[in-house]
């Protein structure tokens, strides 16, 4: 058995623990170790991706205990793609943090690794309870990073986030307990096998458990009634960590995309298509709300926070179609929106540093020393985010619109998606012109404003270059999205790979 599948979990765990113990070492050394470990995730993710590219599932039974009783990690096309995305965003975020943000508080390096541990684990796990555990790992690192380099505003925002997510964790456990009580298993593949056999007596209990689970994932993904915590807390976080946090909402989306088509998909008997009446309408509402939030923002970082909500809404519209075309659009759009939102957070951070007192507020003040360069980067990110050709947002939206044609809510989906896109274009154009175009006075003021060295723009360049690469090699990117979608839409391959011919007639424990 190859140990490749556990490396994305093990490497951050070991590095993080070492960094935690070596807090007396020089900051430069710890930064280098942290960066090396983050960088190493990239080849690991690429290797895993090449291994699963032909449609195999890499199943890793922890400690050699076989499923359904042992705990498994499963890497398929979707998980490998998410690992790759996490690695790219983490590298950019770590590079950006190296500019001094990582020394604003203690233990940044260790927390960063633990955050990656939680995210990677959540993408790889094939077990519902372990999903909960990895969620907790990533959340506790998230709280700590949110408080990193602390101020009153940040503490207020963090308190809300912690309380809300603790309630979410309690509900997650209620859901897990309910599903276990009915099915007697927590292994996702085994759940997919047991749930279709539930009879009319037990199915409603499993249904309530599954819908509770959907609610918890919606909280993590910041869907509409549960998403108010996101913009404020992301805007309060440091730029580098906010960029990494854009992956966190995708963990919620990933969990929906993993659990529901697999265990409650079209062949789930009594519970078939359980989530489909809920996800699409809520996603449309989130999308509209997020677009209005972007329009109402008074600062670039706040706008970036609302854009995360907007893109999660768009993404879940694609997921909520629960069709193969929808999944393909969702996979492509996930990659696009994560990279672009992370880039926007980093741009907002650099802009705030150059405008000193005005920060990233959308006021008209003196020009920045590097307005042209930063403005061009902003233009690329904004074009991609708003969904204008030729960048990824356009391709992603076309895929979603095309997939929505077959849906019952096609008219509503098309109109909300297109009108919201228009609102976002207006909002981003307004923000861009306030920041880069309209200036007060002709010359930059006498106040010395730090010019940002080109090196500091490298992380933004990396993220935007990945976006451009997704267009330049658009054929292979969409082909990967489609093959991933076919894997999601046919869960039997996953079940087969995890359980194989494991005895199905195991004795009931009760």
């Amino acid at each position: 058995m190859s140990h490749l599948a556990i490396l994305p979990v093990l490497l951050p765990l070991v590095t993080g623990s070492l960094l935690l113990l070596s807090s007396r070492c020089a900051a430069g050394l710890r930064r280098a170790v942290g960066f090396a470990a983050t960088l190493a995730l990239l080849p690991i993710a690429l290797l895993l991706m090449s291994e699963v590219a032909d449609g195999t599932h890499v199943v890793y039974a922890l400690g050699g205990w076989q499923p359904p009783f042992g705990i498994v990690l499963v890497a398929d096309r979707l998980a490998a793609l998410m690992l790759l995305l996490t690695a790219v965003v983490a590298i950019a975020s770590h590079l950006h943090a190296g500019d001094g943000q990582d020394t604003a508080g203690p233990q940044f390096q260790a927390l960063f690794q633990f955050q990656l541990l939680g995210i990677n684990g959540a993408f790889l796990t094939g077990d519902l309870f372990n999903l909960f555990v990895f969620f907790e790992v990533l959340l506790i690192a998230f709280y700590a990073l949110l408080l990193h380099g602390l101020g009153p505003q940040r503490v207020g925002a963090a308190l809300h986030v912690v309380v809300l997510n603790l309630i979410g964790s309690a509900l997650f456990l209620f859901a897990v307990g309910t599903l276990y009580g009915v099915t007697g298993t927590l292994n996702l593949a085994d759940l997919a096998r047991v749930i279709p056999r539930l009879d009319a007596d037990t199915a409603p209990i499993a249904r309530s458990g599954a819908l509770l689970l959907l609610g918890v994932f919606a909280l993590k993904a910041a869907l509409l009634p549960l998403g108010f915590w996101l913009p404020r807390s992301y805007a309060a976080a440091l730029g580098a960590t906010a960029a990494l946090f854009t992956v966190l909402t995708k963990v919620g989306v990933y969990a929906i995309l993993r659990v529901f088509p697999l265990a409650f998909g079209s062949d789930a008997g009594e519970l078939a298509g359980l989530a489909s009446p809920w996800v699409l309408p809520v996603a449309l509402a989130t999308l509209a709300f997020g677009a209005l939030g972007v329009l109402g923002s008074r600062a670039l970082r706040e706008a970036a926070g609302w854009l995360v909500v907007y893109s999660v809404g768009t993404l879940l519209v694609a997921v909520g179609l629960f069709s193969e075309a929808g999944y393909a659009a969702a996979v492509y759009y996930t990659a696009h929106s994560t990279l672009v939102s992370a880039a926007l957070f980093l741009i907002a951070d650099v802009v705030a540093r150059q405008r000193s007192a005005a920060g990233d507020r959308l006021d008209v003040v003196d020009s920045m020393p590097q307005a042209g360069l930063l403005g061009s980067l902003y233009l690329v990110a904004a074009v991609a985010m708003a969904g204008l050709p030729p960048l990824t947002g356009f391709a992603g939206k076309i895929m979603i619109l095309d997939a929505a044609r077959a849906s019952g809510l096609a008219v509503a989906t098309w109109s909300v998606l297109l009108v919201a896109a228009l609102v976002v274009i207006v909002a981003l154009a307004r923000a861009g012109s306030a920041l880069f175009w309209r200036i007060e006075g002709e010359t930059p003021t006498a106040v010395a404003r730090p010019r940002v060295p080109l090196r500091a723009l490298a992380p933004i360049g990396l993220l935007l270059a990945s976006v451009v690469a997704m267009v330049a090699w658009g054929g292979s990117a969409t082909a990967y999205a489609w093959s991933t979608a076919s894997q999601i839409a046919r869960p039997s391959g996953y079940v087969e790979a995890v359980l194989g011919d494991a005895a199905d007639d195991r004795r009931s424990l009760r």
Partner: protein, 108 residues
């Protein structure tokens, strides 16, 4: 037995919810703790309640408690404890930074 456990879970959840809706951080914290107790009991009961039997299993025993929920509860207790500790720290820090323990920051 079932009724007793069900009532206990219900009472704990209801009190926890009530306390969580208060405006000060300390009652909210207590409410979350009560809710996590309710969750732990619930998880424990999800393996079905078995009376007058060995705690895990024994040879020749055909009725014994499901060991998996016990392991889950153990994990959930540890995680819940860590999270509560973290919340206490954040709440204390918020009191020091904002001068009050209102959940929205400051004195109201």
């Amino acid at each position: 037995m079932e009724a007793l456990v069900a009532i206990a879970i219900g009472v704990l959840t209801a009190s926890g919810l009530y306390l969580m809706l208060r405006a000060r951080t300390f009652p909210v914290l207590l409410g979350l703790t009560l809710l996590s107790y309710a969750v732990n009991l619930f998880l424990f009961a999800s393996g079905r309640l078995v009376m007058a039997s060995a705690p895990l299993t024994d040879q020749g025993l055909d009725r014994y408690p499901d060991p998996v929920p016990q392991a889950l509860v153990l994990t959930a207790i540890v995680i819940g404890f860590g999270m509560t500790a973290l919340l206490v720290v954040v709440a204390l820090r918020a009191i020091r930074e904002t001068g009050g323990d209102h959940v929205d920051g400051g004195r109201r």
